[in-house]
Subunit: 229 residues, 2 copies
């Protein structure tokens, strides 16, 4: 349980910053962010923004996990990414001039800071370190998504699940993977029932352990082999 009474996060002492695009900024730059940002506590399953609305700024994730997802024509979610501590969320739409093409929603309790669009775009203009970091990040993600598309098109559900678990292993780091079966299915791109059956297989093969809804990877090598890389 996060402490709601201490929801203000100070950038200069923010533990998540070392993993963030603000990691390499100087003190002046950080104190500017500090001035311009606001902080908020989010409950589980609260939206940060939704597809097709227009962006008002960017979110900086201090604590917790956030899912980024698009909805297909029948409303089914496709999870594109799961953001963890330190990530800046929603900056794509700052530059595209388009409305959001994805939605973002907390997966657990979160502390999240917010920087308004104008302030953020000003930072980008004047702060080359941040700007280059953002460009690098946009580019990396674009590459990752080419791989994602290829996986979706060519891998079996079993292979995609292995791939997904490897990614989630990184996102959840030392913690256990903590998603509903439905969210996990929506990340892998399959039906919930199929996902459940495959998890069972993986468990029987000694690849994962299932602690009710939480998943623990116990054979990463096998997963890597299965994912086909």
């Amino acid at each position: 349980m996060l402490d709601k009474s201490h929801k203000h996060v100070t950038c200069s002492t923010c533990g998540a910053r070392k993993n963030s695009l603000f990691a390499n900024n100087c003190e002046n730059e950080i104190s500017l962010v500090e001035e311009q940002k606001t902080c908020a506590y989010y409950k589980k399953n609260q939206p940060l923004f939704i597809e097709s609305s227009f962006p008002r700024g960017v979110f900086c994730l201090n604590q917790g996990k956030v899912k980024i997802f698009a909805r297909g024509d029948e409303g089914k979610e496709q999870i594109i990414h799961i953001a963890k501590e330190g990530e800046i969320i929603g900056f794509r739409a700052m530059f595209s001039g388009e409305p959001y093409k994805v939605s973002a929603s907390t997966l657990e309790e979160c502390n999240i800071c917010f920087i308004g669009k104008e302030d953020f775009l000003n930072m980008i203009e004047t702060n080359a370190t941040l700007r280059n970091g953002i460009m690098k990040e946009l580019s990396k993600e674009l590459g990752d998504r080419a791989v994602f598309i290829t996986n979706m098109a060519q891998k079996s559900v079993r292979e995609r699940l292995a791939f997904a678990l490897l990614i989630l292993g990184d996102v959840y780091d030392k913690e256990e993977i903590n998603l509903t079966r439905e969210d996990l299915a929506n990340f892998v791109g399959t039906a919930t029932e199929t996902l459940i059956r495959l998890l069972k297989d993986f468990k029987e093969e000694g690849i994962i352990e299932i602690h009710t809804r939480k998943l623990e990877i116990i054979n990463k090598d096998k997963l890597m082999h299965l994912a086909g890389k």
Copy 2:
């Protein structure tokens, strides 16, 4: 057949530039590009760059079409994008610090200019118009790929084919769509045989006409309906 003897393209008179990220640059900026670029004629099916190699610069497509694709673990191509006249190709890898995650190859005869990495990065630093254009483009593509992933995960092959034909209708503009069945299958993300059968269905339903390998869309509305938008 392109005229190979006139392969030098002059930026200031380049017809493709109006559709490009260089469209809004001033004369000084264009003449700088003019100085720094080189031009080349490419035959059909010639690679511009391949996955996992390191980028040496960016390509600017003056004439022709280029496919951008990733290879899955069994070597099968997944076409991510088909670039047309005016597009700058390969700039993602300029910023990511990673090797290429995709390959690029001509689909027909092309005239393509090249700007070396250092020159290009200098332009990005000093030319805010170009830089903002690039950031906007990176962002747009990132959004498009979220949609692409969702389509792959949730739509049937039939729906994806409809979607693909709509995209290709734009890419080929007034011309007929001119791809091998295999390339089209690799764009849709299906087996070539399945694609061929579906094309036949679409033809029988009066949606397209097939002129040997070239495809003509004759009922765009129906396609849009099928694609589910």
